[in-house]
Amino acid sequence: MNGIHDMGGMHGFGAIPDIDGPEPFHHDWERHVFAMNVALGGLGLWNIDMTRAEMETTAPEDYLAPGGYFYRFLLRMERQALKYELASPEEISSGVVSQPPRSGLSAMKPEQIAVMAAKGSSSMRPTENEPRFKVGDRVRARRINPETHTRLPRYVRGCEGVITRVQGSHVYPDDSCHGDENPQWLYAVRFAGTEIWGKNAEAGLEVVIDAFEPYLDPA
């Protein structure tokens, strides 16, 4: 979606903050938010594309709120708790249990963390389809404006670039957020800065994005 999260190229945000830290957390509550997010993901109710899609629906004023990155994580987890029927609105606002938990779910155990961290969760999937593009092909990013989740940032739409890597066949986020993995070929596409930003682009600028095949047409 053309949401507040799609920030590439925006003006007005000022100097880079926190160059000298603290990191990665400013406050203890952020640590708890981070850990809760990982643990809740382990329930297997949602995938990363659903989580990102949900984050992108954050109201702009909340997305940019002073509480920052982990504050919006908190808001998103509260929404997910409601959406996936983990708790009622009253329970979320009071912090007090008043109804039984959703059945069939079990908390991640400490001994599962090392395995989870080391194994990860690859997005690569087999496909019968051959890749449409190869390294060196000139392509144009499509002008699409989906109202739901996509990983094609606005700043490259309509721009012409060149395929520099074929990255394999991966879960396609635009459909995976709706529960359909629909694997697509993925490509690194390099754009000249002048192509994206015009003739006054910074000297020597190139931007490379990873684009799924449905984002691209031959140029």
Binding site: M10, P66, L74, A87, R102, A107, G120, E206
Partner: protein
């Protein structure tokens, strides 16, 4: 600025906002714990894993080895996932890694404009600045100005290639090996490979930088 003032808001407002957020986090955590969805011991293990065990020292070892061993460098640039896995660094938010070698002609910088994608197995959790609106918005349009804020100025005739991590591919920059390090052990080379150099916002430390930091009694910054 103190930690509490990091937002630049007036102190009282920020404190009351902070207290409210803390309460909200505690309430959610206790609710989810009581309902059996999360286990506090698991939360501790998660934090220990990502605060103490997995961090940019991993990436520094990878880079130092690549600098020391041309055949490892070749493998790293050809198949970073496998080369890095051979050193024991694998997994979450780094299942598919690409290594980007800086040269005298091309300087690479990594960002995730859409969220905060970052190669956890080699660099640990991303620093706040990487996840900030300012970095996400600005580095794809004015990287030279952004790098200048980190103290790095590059010649106009260099290419600056900004990699926006829009998929599950994760990127690590291999900074150029500093001059004056011939014959250095991988262990000593590691100390020059600061975290920021593997994102691309700074170069690796020179031997002089590293000595100066030690002389000042400082740990190496931005590791």
């Amino acid at each position: 600025m103190t930690e509490d003032d990091h937002t630049g808001q007036d102190h009282d407002h920020d404190h009351s906002h902070l207290t409210e957020t803390e309460s909200r986090v505690r309430a959610l955590e206790s609710l989810l714990t009581e309902k059996g969805y999360i286990d506090p011991k698991t939360l501790e293990t998660i934090l220990q894993t990502y605060e103490e065990q997995i961090g940019p020292r991993n990436g520094a070892k990878v880079v130092a080895r690549a600098w020391s061993d041309p055949s490892f460098m070749e493998w790293l640039l050809r198949d970073a996932t496998a080369a890095i896995a051979s050193m024991g660094y694998t997994g979450r938010q780094g299942e598919h890694i690409v290594a980007l070698a800086n040269t005298s002609r091309v300087h690479n910088v990594v960002v995730c404009t859409l969220c905060s994608c970052y190669p956890w197995p080699v660099l640990g959790l991303p620093p706040s600045w990487y996840k900030s609106s300012a970095y996400r918005a600005r580095v794809v349009i004015e990287p030279r100005k952004v790098l200048a804020e980190f103290g790095l100025t590059l010649p106009d005739d260099m290419t600056i290639r900004v990699w926006d991590s829009t998929s599950e591919m994760r990127y690590i920059v291999v900074p150029m090996r500093p001059a004056g390090t011939d014959g250095w052990s991988a262990q000593d080379l590691e100390k020059l490979v600061i975290r920021d150099s593997m994102v691309g916002v700074r170069q690796a430390l020179t031997p002089a930088d590293a000595s100066a930091a030690r002389a000042a009694g400082k740990g190496v910054r931005h590791v």
